[in-house]
């Protein structure tokens, strides 16, 4: 089918051989000069300050990441030494930016799992070039997320009590609490994500091992490749392992954010106690995750000249996923408003008022910011032109990231500011440490991300080769079978194309 042809062609444009793909992608890791090639124009005074060889995107981004990682460490130190009081949390707002950021990061992680697991099971070949760094993004995002539940406790040194472990007190965690479910959900998610990521890396580690020149790199990648020889048996087991892990990950995509949403949905706080939360949180997570993938992919693609691997087709499809999930999220907001109105519960209607009213609702601006960033701006994605304009796409993705942050901000602290008794109405203002920790986790995320870009292949080498194989096959068939649709025997690609 002609359409299928263009698809594979679009996914890997240009003339490629296996060796060329290896050269192109391995070089990013093994030839360290690649990271100094692209140059960034720094503003005047900074340009003088930063040595010329560090004026490349990699160094700049890693530098920013490093600085903010230190900000994070500083904030954590202050927090643990002084107490939760250094944050803006108060009575009645027990959870503020801590949990907002937790949910935000967890949500971002979801795109990685969705791309690597769900799209794998659905045989979507276009995932091949973006899955590796999306998975890395997942792991780093979950790392950022994971520190919040730990640190948001008043006494983090005993936070391990949330784990079920045998102890002399004969005390289990209290299993009815969604926070305990959270612990299981997030740790499972983290474990499976790391496993999946690592298993996927093994063939690429072997490639790196084989092509590395330095002894250290050879030993290091050799150890990581766990003796991968590329035998048919190896590939067979690899295929099975990745399908099993994908099967394990797929429910996690749904379960983790469902359980995160239970933290709120299981409570009785007006604005939290909403039955639509699980699906709408999952959709929001995918929404946010894809936005983050695009936000990262656009600059990386440019800096590392990956235009042939991450194509406009990829962006187009990712944008479509964002549009779809964005509409689901928008529907969620509409439903929340509808429920509040339909219930005619005083507390619920008051919450609605508190969210949307322009007067006498100190935080309604954040709701309208959410609608702007998360519902209005993403509507531009209906236009194919916008979907193909990388600048627009980048800023829309940014807008979605901001909007999703606001979503959690509106739901979590703002619902708490006014609940049942007007006497206990309060305000919430984050402090510098709150913002410092948020900026710090972003920095930590960037720091890890750019270390990853430098030392591990950010695009799945062997899957690209597999794609090339399919493409060649396809061209071959196209040439010889007069453009008739053809079922492939080999591998994953075939079944999907049969549709």
């Amino acid at each position: 089918m002609a359409a299928e042809d263009t698809r594979l062609k679009d996914l890997l444009p240009g003339e490629w051989t296996n060796a060329k793909i290896d050269d192109e992608l391995v070089e990013i890791v093994l030839d360290q000069r690649r990271h100094e090639e692209a140059k960034v124009k720094l503003p005047g005074p900074l340009a003088k300050l930063v040595p010329a060889q560090f004026q490349s995107p990699w160094y700049i981004m890693l530098g920013i990441g490093f600085v903010f990682t230190n900000v994070l460490l500083l904030c954590i130190t202050i927090l643990v030494l002084t107490g939760i009081g250094v944050w803006g949390n108060n009575q009645p707002v027990g959870w503020g930016l801590d949990i907002v950021n937790f949910v935000w990061w967890i949500g971002i992680g979801h795109a990685g799992t969705l791309i690597s697991a769900v799209l794998l099971l659905l045989r979507q070949q276009w995932r091949n070039s973006i899955n590796r760094f999306a998975e890395a993004m997942t792991i780093f995002a979950v790392m950022c997320a994971g520190m919040y539940p730990l640190l948001h406790t008043g006494r983090p040194w005993v936070a391990y009590w949330l784990l079920p472990y045998p102890n002399v007190l004969a005390m289990w965690p209290q299993f009815r609490s969604p926070l305990v479910w959270d612990v299981f959900a997030v740790t499972t998610y983290m474990t499976v994500s790391i496993l999946f990521w690592f298993v996927g890396l093994i063939p690429d580690f072997a490639t790196l091992r084989d092509r590395a020149k330095g002894r250290f790199a050879q030993v290091a990648y050799g150890a990581l490749s766990m003796g991968w020889s590329g035998s048919a048996k190896g590939w067979h087991r690899y295929q099975h392992a990745s399908i099993i892990l994908a099967g394990l990950s797929t429910p996690l995509v749904l379960s983790v954010h469902t359980i995160v949403s239970y933290d709120f949905a299981m409570s009785i706080v007006p604005g939290w106690n909403v039955t639509i939360f699980p699906p709408y949180f999952v959709a929001g997570a995918v929404f946010a995750g894809f936005a983050m993938v695009i936000t990262l992919a656009i600059p990386l693609r440019k800096w590392y000249r990956l235009e042939n691997f991450i194509t406009m087709k990829h962006f187009d499809w990712m944008a479509k996923v964002m549009l779809a999930t964005g509409l689901i999220v928008g529907y969620g907001y509409a439903m929340e408003i509808f429920y509040a109105w339909y219930s005619q519960e005083p507390a619920e209607t008051a919450l609605l008022h508190n969210r949307v009213a322009l007067a006498d609702a100190p935080y309604s601006w954040s709701f309208w910011a959410l609608i702007l960033f998360n519902v209005a701006i993403p509507l531009f994605l209906w236009s194919p032109k916008v979907r193909k304009n990388l600048t627009a796409l980048f800023w829309i993705s940014m807008s979605i990231s901001i909007g999703m942050w606001f979503e959690r901000y509106v739901i979590i602290p703002i619902s708490l500011t006014r609940d049942y008794l007007p006497s206990s109405y309060g305000y919430y203002t984050p402090t510098i440490v709150d913002w410092g920790m948020f900026a710090g986790t972003i920095g930590f995320f960037l720091f890890l991300m750019f270390l990853f870009v430098r030392f591990l292949p950010m695009i799945n080498i062997f899957e690209m080769k597999e794609l090339l194989h399919h493409k060649e096959h396809e061209e071959h068939h196209n040439g010889h079978a007069n453009g008739k649709a053809h079922a492939h025997v080999n591998g994953q690609a075939g079944k999907e194309e049969a549709h």
């Binding site: 939760i84 027990g94 948001h152 006494r155 005083p346 209607t349 008022h353 049942y420 008794l421 007007p422």
Partner: protein
Amino acid sequence: MSATTRPGGEGRDFVKGYEQLVDPAPAQAAAVDEFPHRDSLLQVDRREVLKVMGVTLALSALAGGCRFQPQQKIVPYVVDPEGYTAGADRTYATAASCGGYAIGLLARSYEGRPVKLEGNPGHPSSLGGIDARTLAEVAVLYDPDRHKNPTSFGDFGTWPEFLREVRAELEGGGAGVAVLTPNVGSPTLAGLLEEFKQRYPGAEWYQYEPVHRDSVREGAMLAFGRDVHTVYDFSAAKVVVGFDADFVSEGPGHAAYCRGLAQGRAVSRERTEMSRLYAFEAAPTLFGAMADHRFRVRPSQALAVAQALATRLGLGGGPAATVAGVDAKVLDAVAADLEANRGASILVAGAYQSPQVHALLHAINAQLGNLGRTVVTTEPVLPRPVSNVADIKALTEAMQAGRVRALLILGGNPVYDAPADVEFGERLKAVKLTAHLSLYKDETSSACKWQLPASHFLEAWGDGRGHDGTAGVVQPLIEPMYDTKSAVELVDALLRRSRPGLECVRSHWQPRLGANPDAAWAEALATGVLPGTAAAPVSPTVVPNLLSGLQAPAATGVEMVVLPDPCVYDGRYSNIGWLQELPKPLTNLTWDNAVHMGPAMAKRLGVGQPQKMVGIVPFYGPSDLVTVTANGQSVTAPVYVHMGMADETVLVHLGYGRTQSGQVGTKKDEKRGGGFDFNPFRTTAATYVVPNVQVAKAPGSYGLANAQFHNLLDVTEVDSDRDIIREVTLAKYIEDPKAFGKPTHGIFAGGHGHEGEGHGAEKGEKGEKEKKKGKGLYAPPAEFYDETKNYQWAMTVDLNLCTGCNACVTACQAENNIPTVGKEQVMRGREMHWIRIDRYYRKKGASFDENDPLITLQPVTCVQCEMAPCEPVCPVAATVHSHEGINQMVYNRCVGTRYCSNNCPYKVRRFNFLHYTDKVEQIPVLKLLQNPDVTVRGRGVMEKCTYCVHRINHSRIEAKRKDREIADGEVVTACQQACPTGAIVFGDMRRPENAVAKSRLTDRNYALLEILNTRPRTTHLGRVTNPNPSLEA
């Protein structure tokens, strides 16, 4: 006794030898001087200095500190003394005094340290109730900033040195010596001071009290031609008309008056009549909030209102029967109501109203036949009643004239709080020898030559008389912790007797103790009351032609009411964090005072509390500043928009803007509070109401720490119908058996899972069955309803009785070691009170008038839900339900996720965001303040009301020892105990005969936020108002 060898203490004033009697100076020198025969250390040679230094160092290292320890043998109990159990608390009767009037207390002591004050049920001024300020006296005792030893010009001094100096001045009849005291209510001290005056005829004794009751006294003199003291019986009054009356929160006998007022308001199916309260007032008071009708009247208008009432009641002779701004219909109705309840009504005015108003109200009370019934006039209670303002004026005039050589200020802080026009501080400089005996080094101390540390009343013997004159002994519970003396001891020392305080007090009462003085004394110590000492009633007659002589002052310009602060009072409690952080009744301000004005006036001035954006986030708006100018003085302070203020009237509070208090009380910056000093506006002519005040907007703003915002119910659509406060009129209550919503479901009432079932007639059977089985989707565990098994604790709070006086809040703080957090933390919304008084405004008529709303108060603490939303969300089971229905908090287990607090619809959980109890760890004396029965919580844990579970367990142990059940009324929670009105009832609800079960069975019982099916164990009894039918719109 311990301190015979204490240097500088002159011991406990034992005579050490004959020399002392003949010529005290050398003997004292020997007693004081560690290095006798040297005038100063300068005469010691170098070697000796080194020697002494070496020895001192070695000794101080051995002693572990520099303070001289009393040389006593300390032997642990090998065999407990009879009646003593290690670790058990003991209670002693004592009394605290304010303004010369005492309130009887029971002080609870653990191993010799008092930790909690409670009202003495046997004392007529307490009747078991207490107020927040008196409760905090124990924090004064352990205040680390207390003045600890005598200093002279700030340098170390000694008592003998001081006494030597004063005695020198007293030589030759004491001319030129003056003693300034606050109002002295203690018969012993008054007796000693009289004796002092006899001994030194030239000496003068003045009394000054910043929160004086001069106009009450002058009003009585105007009305009756003589000074009489008035005692009210609110329980017998059917109609109470208050003119700026704040007898609920201050003045003599306020705790007892709360009880009386509440008795008149108690209403049930069995007693369907209640008193009707009218309040005419400038600034909202707690009485006004409670009143059935509250009218805003400027301070200068009160007399006109009283006159109009008098005219209507046939007193005649008064001017026009109308008052601008007050509906004639109102006056007619009030007068008719008074007329209809002759002999059973009370007209009462606050201490800040003019003598004319007081006099006229006496006349009306007499006219209505209330005198001798609801209003009892007696001989003055104070031993030497004076006009405080006249006294301080006379003193300063004498000072100015150079007639005062030596001035002994025994308490009070006149440099800070004397009327501005007497220029006390300035005059003080002209006095040669000045000394100030006080608990703190304050403004007056540092203006004096001698700063003398005073003993706290829990450290020294004394006595006092209640509001009805009943005398009681003030027993100390602890040895003086520092080198301090009480006023009694000091005056006795000036009389060259230097007896211990006990001897002074005992010898004063000895002739009055009857035939068997020892037994009578022991009885008085045990009960806290000397029976038969109440002031004798008198029946004065109103002077003729009183009315024609009363001239209402012309209301000119803005009037400013300067009142004592409801929490820190005149500033004496500035350094007490408990009171600084106690939300002031009605405004809920903490840590500061402000210029209160009504919304209309605030709008006119264009001031308020605009919301401020901090970055992109709105924050508690700092209040606009206003400059208040009067009498050539001006003060710039933040504005507080106070709904219910009279037009063009501002209210300010005293006790703030302290320049020299302790670490807590001294005025600091906006972040730490400390308020503004309004004393400069007070003059001898106008101490409470300052007319003709200019108020103008000033640039800048100042953040106030408010524990609550303006909570409007019934105002906007969104806040209506929340079923927070249930309130009906008495008429409706009588006619409609379901006036408070659907009937309750037996003792185990509260939110019921099966709405519409088990109601009314069938409720008995069906409801019974259900609760036995504990069936249904939302039914609570059946064990709560197994009446054979466990105690089931429950509480009710009667909104009809609650005056909102805050006593419960401070009682809880004292009982449960609740920390204070400071202004900045309060501004962040992190105050720790386990019980709070919620305040709501509601519309008065058809629409909400922000200038004139109704005010409703509601105490809320953890309601101990049977189906507690906090419990299932805790990930570590740190909050769990007991079999007795208490929602327990396990501090040790809490990791601090705050999820429980988020999920608490009542928002009664409190989190230790920071290490709020660090001071307790750092400052040893604060450790003494902590209740040993209750854990001191560290940072990162959640806490909340426990129903005083330690008290329950205490009773449980007692009961088990005696093999019986805990009796009804045996467990009394701290809030319940403090409550002067008895609004709080607590107990085991299983037994239908128990008070709490009965209370839960009344048809006024409702569960807060019943709709959530939390099934609270603490329920509220709905409020019944008794408006005058002819004033009903």
